[in-house]
Symmetry: D2
Subunit: 402 residues, 4 copies
């Protein structure tokens, strides 16, 4: 048990900022219990970005290398939110230095890298977790509970999508998002979250099949300066080919025999951030879309026949993420995606402190498995849709969040 | 040009009744123009059912054989709404007798049968059409128009489903719906409509892949008496195996290169009759669900950025199906699935009379092509999801309804 | 018990056409039981309109006076769908001639006229009913049943609206709708339906208060020719003042002590035909909008706390209007406003034939009471919102439809 | 210009906690610009509550009197979130001590008290604001902008409601919420927010009429201990009468001549926190409900006729509350009611620091005017719904937030 916890964030792009804010808010959730939290450092290769983030989010200092974080004695817990080719080196270095680590998804560019990271985590004494933030959605967690409790019976089919429109504008700038081979586009960026959701709800997948991948906008202009997040940019005359997929779809079979259909697109006109699903089971059904993060639709056998129908359930204080989790916490009070990072940060700090309130963060092995599914999707696409089997996963490898 | 048109309906189960009502209502739509319509006969192997239907829907006589219809001199137009193994013989017989024929989908149990029917139609002088009734949905037609006009740009991806719950109750009786091999279940019954919708919106498919098929309720009790439609029944002690799929899913690639994901299920808890889709294109997007038949969601580039979003478009009198198509025809007046049969009957009668108001009914070749897609889905499922190519279709084979 | 029933419709504008179609469809609902129905005559002062309607809806002859209908021996049942200043004379004449009469709402331009009509009905042997068509909405009837059964507890408050946009266009032509004093505008045209709905759901009102009335478009151009329904028209240069209200609102107190707020507008931008309400009671709540005629929202104490919420209930075959009421009648099959006229026509024919299936049509006294409420609203508006008490109504005067 | 700002919160019930969290988060919004913010003190008569809140939200010290806050040299800005009978004394004391003050609504139990507070504010050099938090809703602000810009034309009618269910449970404990005369119940608690919303959207009201007030649950059991927020409690055997209204409704006329209907209830079954409205104007319409805080519905003349309809506009980065206002700030990222307190705290700190980014907080005179409207509603209810005129308000008295 620590007497206080020092935290740091590496990478202060859009997602890194959300981590930085999450650690700041985490101690304000759920009342007393947590050791003191010290906001020690943010690190970014760009010193101006690092300095601004440190000031804005109240971190004591700004660094420009991850090594400075690894070497610091006053830091216990670190979020890694940089481009994923850098994940392995940084996570291995932080673990070697005895830090607790939360690494953004997808874990690494290759399964081999991810396997090495899992091995490093196994050899370390500290916590090594992957940031599947949507597991912290009170709404998604509520659906998972309904399924896990058996209230809905056995899953029959799940139809899931993650539709964004950040790549729908042909005049949007070329960026790292559009580089790398097939599978490194929508599949890695948003499909990674989606695959985790698919398995969170229905359990481990046994195989995928029927994958398709398409690119709508095949080249883009290189911007004149740095771009953070999905911001607009001034463009140069240089155009480069988009190297990866805008849209991906596949079917999957769960180890349980149930089925799923999955689509992810970053070129889905009109859908700013639509992560959603409809599932039906033997005794019920449920739907969710991030467009309306505060509600889930649920149908089951509990209602009188004459007035049965899907219930629009406002996610509320019956759930640990909201009971005591926000200053105002009655039903209908609402929450946003930034709050998920606060819940995630709180869960990690509780794990480090040996507390038990929120479900723990999923281990790196969940990130490795996720990567194997993504790779199988790419293989299936290359093999004209043929089924690609996945190696079985022991339950603990995916962990659980409720 | 006929001076009057005599009509008949063969088969008076649930769908046959809808045809019978459709012909009765058809002349009341769109004001004058149509020749007089005589409601001559309904035919059903069950004389009691035939008699009741004739009385209820105002047909002059009830018959118990299709031959009686084929031989009648006072009948010009016939709807065929019997079990699909009977389609070929009846349609060929009616065409040989010079009748205009509207045959329910799916056209036949086998592609070979359907090919024979198409050949018979080619040799006949009369109209031979297939009943893809949902083409008559004002909402679906409105989306098709938006796509066809280019207002939404090029299709990127279509996600379509047909979810029903008529097979969700394990105590529901065994029936013809649950007999026949893989592909004769949800795929033939509701998937057939869905495939037609998928091609109506995005054009001909080039291939399917990744098919999965599953059966949730694997055996059912044989009922003690006849069952019409989806009615409840008293059950015997005899249980029989369900021979075909409750749920089917697949991916598809259009000839244009766009993609689609498709799921159909008759065991979709909570979904009474949910035929729907979400599509996104390069300049817009649209969604529809039969749960809300009077509205479509449309997004495009026409709205100011600060207030852009999906528009809930109430389908109204801007569309031929509603302008003059119902006694009260202002926006928001609503319509139901029974009205689609009236529109379909009207379109057929107009075709026979040589009028041009509603889009004509699709030819039998559209039903043949539909069957080929269904067969390809079954093949893909058997081949572990591998892609199955479809033979190219000349545009006129699918016809058009707007 | 008649051996056959002859029907006629007086007035073939938009609403008259719906009546004409309703009688044609009525015998096709609910299977055998009804005597034969003969479609005898439509009458309209405009012979061309009358002739077209007779042809379109299959009535044997067209007349140009109501007297011709009253005098005809082969007519038993008559719908009156003309401008309401003509109602009294026609209804009295028809009743005197022994016809069964269904009169459109509002019953008359004045309470005195309506009282005379009720007196005439009391003296007659035949049925005299008023056409509150929305009582035939399966959705509204389903909510009424929930309330009447006590499943929702006691009503606390009802918020009801009828928002249309037929008067939102400043270039729409001057017409009879815009003539007459305060109360003859939105209040009479659509508020009349709304008041009936308010009392159908919550019982008789004891008083109204706080009425406001406003006119958005204060003058309109006179059209160059006749206009049917809400159609566009060519305009002359002559402009006339709009004499009545576009928008009206008021509060009301039920005899039970519950309260209601009510707004009606014909100038409600974007709302084609939005008749709706939200009500909450001590043990439940419900909402409906005609925008989505096939569903009601219901919340009550039947669901588990963790997943409670408003249920989107698809109105279906659990209800008499749909069980056997349409050729295809499973849940989710949908229906439109034209179907309500078929249900209403069927109910009237059943009443005449002494059958009991659908709830009977409300008597003229319900139309009289309705008019008294409308008049009280006008009085309250004139008296700066002061409460205006209504005379108590014996329950049978409002009748019941379930 | 201060070199740093010390803040304090008086009262740490549910709303006080939201203020405390708001000040903590405020500096993390919108990047650099703000002086350093020091979280100095929370004060509450209950020392345990005060201590817990200080620890949880990171305030340097806990106090048990407001005077300790007033006297502290290191405090510049104070939120007052105690029961409203205490507001006047505390606000006057804080202003006298030179503090900037944000006082919760309703400003005071009486208009006289509020007038005294406004006078005190006029005499003070510091900022004195009232906490109409919903003005900070990005969605509500977006609708206001549409109206203010003229994009929707002139307002015709507004229908607004605030429906909560915190008083729907008859076994909920007696509390301060249920004490005080008519007008101190739902009207003061939630109606106060609603009236501010009504005027924010449509401008100052000229009169109210037709008010009704009702109490559903007329007595409640006294709890055995202290209760914070809407929590459950153990009950004693002592029952007390509920002294104020559960539900209130009224009509209103704007100074512009437009009309509004308004209902507020704390006993609205099924509605956890539903603050919403539908408005229509001469060229457009809009709707919102806090149930779905991230979206507004907008219709206007910008869309093609064939696909016009209400747009579901996801509130996003086009708006100052979101552009830079949250760590992740792309469209669809979502926000909750707690975020509104952060935006409000940020706006207040910017005002104190002389910055211009967010709209300033409304002055105490807005709270006084709000109270006058509430009092007029009570008067109208007592006078059988008769109209009660409001004294005209100079525009600056209501201030503006965009």
């Amino acid at each position: 048990m620590h007497s206080s916890l020092g935290v740091a964030v590496i990478g202060v792009g859009m997602v890194g900022r959300a981590h930085a804010a999450g650690f700041r808010t985490a101690p304000t959730l759920y009342g007393p219990g947590l050791p003191d939290v010290r906001l020690v450092a943010v690190a970014d290769a760009d010193p101006a970005l690092a300095g601004d983030a440190a000031r804005r989010f109240g971190y004591a200092r700004a660094e420009t290398t991850w090594q400075a974080v690894a070497e610091a004695d006053d830091i216990d817990v670190v979020s890694v939110a940089v481009a994923n080719p850098l994940h392995r080196e940084i996570v291995e270095g932080l673990l070697a230095a005895g830090k607790h680590v939360l690494c953004e998804k997808p874990l690494a560019p290759s399964v081999a890298d991810a396997e090495a990271m899992v091995a490093a985590a196994a050899a370390a004494d500290s916590i090594a977790a992957v940031g599947f933030t949507f597991r912290r959605s009170p709404a998604i967690a509520a659906v998972r509970e309904q399924l896990a409790s058996g209230a809905l019976g056995s899953l029959v089919h799940l139809d899931a999508h993650y539709w964004c429109d950040y790549a729908v504008d042909p005049t949007g700038p070329m960026s790292w998002r559009y580089r790398g081979g097939p599978g490194s586009g929508a599949l890695a960026d948003i499909g990674s979250h989606l695959v985790d959701l698919v398995e969170l709800l229905g359990g481990p997948l046994a195989s995928v099949r029927g994958a398709t991948m398409g690119t709508t906008i095949t080249e883009r202009a290189v911007p004149l300066g740095a771009v953070v997040g999905h911001a607009k940019a001034e463009l140069s005359d240089v155009r480069q080919a988009v190297e990866n997929e805008d849209t991906v779809s596949f079917s999957a079979t769960y180890a349980s025999g149930s089925t799923a259909t999955v689509t992810a697109s970053r070129a889905a006109f009109g859908h700013a951030n639509s992560l959603g699903f409809s599932l039906f089971a033997t005794d019920g059904a449920a739907s969710f879309d991030l467009d309306r993060p505060g509600e889930v639709l649920v149908a089951d056998r509990s209602t009188p026949a004459a007035t049965s129908g899907f219930r629009t359930v406002p996610v509320g204080p019956a759930h640990p993420y909201l009971t005591g989790g926000l200053p105002m916490d009655f039903p209908g009070v609402g929450y946003g995606q930034n709050d998920l990072f606060s819940f995630q940060a709180r869960a990690l700090l509780e794990q480090v402190a040996g507390l038990e309130n929120l479900p723990p963060c999923p281990p790196l092995s969940a990130g490795l498995h996720n990567l194997r599914v993504l790779r199988a999707v790419v293989e299936s696409a290359h093999a004209h849709g043929r089924e690609v089997a996945l190696q079985p996963v022991p339950p603990h490898a995916l962990a659980t969040t409720s």
